[in-house]
């Protein structure tokens, strides 16, 4: 590992979660404007996490602190992998590990809502993982390598070779950002039927760390989406923002679907589209 890779990795470790926090802030501001509200300041997510950090609350299970930290470690590791130009498929698997730890911690909780949320979280995982993995296979095939560096070094925008990935990636972003219509495992407001689903039993400092892990995840997902137009840093940023904006708009105009619809309809359709794109790449 040379010094350059090391500094990139370090930057990924520090900046990626911060970027994710800013994304959450942008999301809240844009959502408020779409709803003709003034909304919170851009840095509100950071204030929220700061406040959570200061709270000492009895845990719902002895195991949750452990799983939260493992989730955070895995999420940050996936950021670092990507920032250092590592293997995108492995980055994906590491991030899936983080999601697994979040669900496991929720299973350990005592509230039935937490366990219900964990079940739904797993069905969400089942719905978006295959299409996300096929999207990465497509990116790797189109760019000629699995590492982030060769994907970012690909000639011209990959979007024109991979148009059928867009619905799938939008679906992944919606799920990972916990946006309607796929905010199935954890609703934003606790007066809804799952309370806060998979997050119900997390509180205080553990929850603050989980929020940071979530930011790190969001960065990874948007980053992988931005590979579709990776001709330069600005283009990548814009591509990521386009995906984010699409997710915010869809969030505001749609109502929650059931996990059955997600698993039975949305997941297969997006997967078939992505597969068609992959086959096409191999036929070329």
């Amino acid at each position: 590992m040379n010094l350059n890779t090391f500094s990139l990795a370090l930057a990924g470790l520090v900046l990626a979660p911060l970027l994710g926090g800013v994304v959450a802030g942008v999301d809240r501001v844009v959502t408020a404007r779409l709803q003709s509200r003034l909304g919170p300041p851009l840095l509100q997510p950071f204030y929220d996490v700061g406040k959570l950090w200061s709270k000492v609350i009895a845990p719902a299970s002895h195991w949750q602190g452990l799983f939260v930290r493992w989730a955070l470690a895995a999420s940050l590791a996936s950021d670092v992998l990507l920032a250092a130009g590592g293997d995108v498929l492995m980055c994906f698997f590491v991030q899936a590990a983080s999601a697994s730890f979040v669900a496991l911690g929720a299973f350990c909780g005592s509230s039935p809502y937490s366990k219900l949320g964990a079940q739904r979280e797993l069905f969400q995982l089942l719905a978006y993982e295959p299409v996300f993995m096929v999207a990465i296979l497509c990116l790797a095939k189109a760019a000629g390598g699995f590492d982030a560096l060769s994907i970012m070094a690909a000639q011209g925008p990959l979007l024109f070779k991979l148009p059928l990935l867009v619905p799938g990636l939008v679906f992944v972003v919606l799920v990972k950002l916990r946006k309607s219509p796929f905010d199935i495992a954890a609703s934003h407001h606790m007066h809804q039927e799952v309370v806060r689903g998979v997050y119900t039993d997390y509180a205080g400092r553990d929850f603050a760390l989980l929020e940071i892990a979530h930011w790190a995840d969001v960065t990874v997902v948007l980053w992988i989406c931005s590979f579709l137009w990776a001709t330069g840093p600005v283009q990548m940023l814009v591509t990521g923002l386009v995906f984010l904006f699409a997710a915010v708009v869809i969030d505001n105009i749609s109502a929650r679907l059931t996990w059955r619809t997600m698993l039975g309809r949305v997941a297969p359709i997006t997967l078939i589209l992505a597969t068609a794109n992959l086959v096409w790449l191999y036929l070329e």
Binding site: W63, G65, R69, W70, D87, S100, S110, V134, F146, D201
Partner: protein, 630 residues
């Protein structure tokens, strides 16, 4: 010295098995099993230090040995025929007769094949299987000692049937080692039939109606596999006049020739490896005592199938037959993973997951590139340790609470903490990076992506879906074991049934599963014969290990702190009630709380999915044989 190692590996377990038949004293039996475990471990490690090697020990190479192998081709089917006639089982009779006919044709209708170069050839693959059998298999036999004692107490038997049981169990290990080491197709097929016989006897051991039925099902399916095997061997003998396995797996030998014989051998492998649509025999095997299913699933029986396919793999590289085999393996990976997700029976989850993971290995064999074969072999070894561990854990928890249903195992961590946590660790070892099963899957995907053919794309997509299904299945499995309790009393810690002989193998296998999982890059490099284990993407793994270690340390520290903390009142949308299992909810009423997992049977229901996936898998296997025929 090498001949001594090989002799110990193959003959000692058989001899120890025969000796245990005469032993009614548990202490002597335990001593025999322990001694066998020690001998096998020492001999396997001794052999490993000498590999790669070839040898011709007299007991496998002499004319007498070959005559015995020839006789076995008649004796095993004759015994199967006898069983079929005794139980009036038409399929057993039919396949036994077919085997007899093939054996007769081979003996009298064909010229004898050229003598093999060496009777034993030990390469990375053979050594992997020998180590798995000798280490994992031995640990399972030790676990069987206390388990069978408890099992028989539970059944209230008049006379103990443990002598027969341990005879078969130990001999099984010897036959497996023989199969892994032999380089002569006829000797190989004799050992192959011996494993069929052992599994039949072990599955039917309890002699209940269900056990007998499952045993016969295993017998007819595996004799059908035997028919494919013999047909393939005879065709090879006819085409090439060869029985030397090392000489056969040379792609140059097959250029421009039909791969039909190898396709038949691959189908035989798929039957043994319980691939769809032949998974039924492995599912039936769970009626047997837990050590049997652990042995069949992890270190013996099913590994024969993947071993055979991986053995032939170099010939499959870049061929249509190989690609169809990859598709068939990926189909089983997908179908069996989906079936596992719809199950609440813990042993069925394990069984379907076994079929799925073996499918992944068979997909590797179909790809046939050195990278894919190494990935498949790594998966074979790590799967054996991990699945052996999971079976022992489920067996121990089942004996503790009297049920193997996942819903009854909810929150079992409070009752049997050691076993439950070992099971959780085992499940995590199945899916988490940077451990071996996940890394193997990753290596297969990247090896497949290098293939230029669109057909392989479909296999890759199937692997992607199957992989997600596997993650969900194992997280839910471990989450249910660790589940918190909302209402009612915390389940009491029951006095442990487990003795050192139970937890010993479990903890050793746990260490093995995790250790092997972490050693995957080095195993892979050894198999590929490359100097740098961290070439290519593998260089990512050491940093990931460091992250995992840091996470482990921090996590345990927090666990230590939180385990002292008083827990929060469960959030119920109501108030906890004095009555156990209920709470005061909306309308001031008393609500009973019941929890359960969603098994999504409308998607993953067993009857429909078995039929659907079975038909697709059968079509692929027909295409495998048919395509090679044309």
């Amino acid at each position: 010295m090498i001949d001594v190692y090989i002799g110990l590996l193959v003959l000692w377990p058989v001899a120890a098995g025969l000796a245990s038949l005469g032993q009614r004293s548990p202490a002597t039996r335990a001593a025999l099993v322990m001694a066998t475990a020690a001998v096998l471990a020492a001999a396997a490690v001794g052999l490993a230090t000498q590999a790669p090697l070839t040898a011709s020990p007299a007991f496998l190479a002499s004319a007498t040995a070959l005559h015995v192998a020839q006789a076995a081709a008649f004796l095993f089917p004759a015994f199967f025929l006898f069983q079929g006639l005794k139980e009036k089982h038409a399929l057993v009779i039919v396949f036994a007769l077919m085997q007899l006919a093939l054996a007769a044709f081979g003996e009298f209708g064909l010229a004898a094949p050229a003598a093999v170069q060496t009777a034993v050839a030990v390469d990375g693959l053979a050594l992997a299987l020998v180590l798995v059998v000798s280490l994992v298999g031995s640990l399972i036999c030790i676990f069987a000692l206390p388990y069978m004692k408890h099992h028989e107490e539970h059944l209230h038997l008049q006379t103990s049937r443990q002598p027969q049981f341990f005879m078969i169990l130990l001999a099984f290990l010897g036959f497996m080692n023989g199969l892994a080491l032999s380089n002569d197709l006829h000797v190989f097929s004799a050992f192959y039939e011996a494993t069929t016989l052992c599994s039949f006897l072990l599955i039917g051991h309890d002699q209940t109606a269900e056990a007998k039925q499952s045993g016969l099902r295993a017998l007819w399916m595996n004799s059908m596999g035997g028919v494919f095997l013999h047909a393939g061997i005879l065709l090879i003998q006819k085409q090439h006049g060869l029985a030397d396995i090392q000489a056969l797996v040379n792609p140059a030998l097959w250029s421009g020739m039909s791969l039909l014989p190898l396709a038949l051998l691959a189908v035989a492998g798929c039957v043994k490896a319980a691939q769809l649509p032949f998974q039924a025999w492995l599912l039936g095997a769970m009626v047997a005592p837990t050590p049997v299913s652990a042995l069949l699933h992890s270190s013996t029986m099913v590994k024969v199938g993947v071993f055979l396919c991986l053995r032939l793999a170099p010939v499959f590289e870049g061929t249509t037959t190989g690609r169809i085999l990859t598709l068939a393996g990926a189909m089983t990976f997908l179908g069996a993973s989906a079936l596992a997700l719809g199950q609440s029976n813990a042993k069925k989850i394990l069984a379907y997951s076994t079929a799925a993971n073996l499918g992944l290995i068979i997909a590797c064999a179909g790809l046939g590139t050195p990278l894919a074969i190494a990935a498949g072999t790594v998966l074979l070894v790590i799967h054996a340790a991990t699945k052996g561990l999971l079976f022992l854990c489920v067996g121990d928890m089942e004996q503790a609470i009297g049920s193997r249903d996942l819903e009854d195992l909810r929150a079992v961590i409070a009752k049997t903490p050691v076993t439950a946590l070992a099971a959780v660790a085992g499940s995590m070892a199945m899916i988490l990076p940077p451990l071996g099963m996940l890394v193997g899957k990753w290596a297969v995907l990247e090896a497949a992506a290098a293939s230029p053919v669109p057909v392989v794309v479909i296999a890759m997509v199937m692997m992607a879906v199957g992989s997600a299904l596997g993650v969900v299945c194992w997280v839910r499995f471990s989450g249910t074991l660790m589940s918190g309790v909302a209402v009612g009393p915390q389940p009491a810690h029951t006095s442990p049934l487990s003795t050192g002989l139970t937890t010993g193998p479990i903890l050793t296998l746990l260490a093995g599963a995790v250790g092997l999982g972490m050693a995957a890059p080095w195993l892979n490099a050894l198999l590929l014969g490359q100097g740098n284990p961290l070439a290519g993407g593998w260089g990512l793994l050491p940093p990931l290990f460091i992250v995992a270690m840091l996470g482990w340390i921090i996590g345990l520290k927090v666990l230590g702190r939180q385990s002292q903390a008083r827990l929060a009142t469960p959030y119920l949308g109501g108030l906890p009630q004095a009555q156990p299992g209920s709470y005061v909810g909306p309308l001031g009423r008393n609500w009973t709380l019941s929890e359960g997992n969603e098994y999504a049977t409308e998607f993953f229901g067993e009857p429909k999915l078995t039929r659907l996936a079975g038909i697709v898998a059968l079509a692929l296997l027909l295409a495998l044989v048919g395509g090679a025929l044309l």
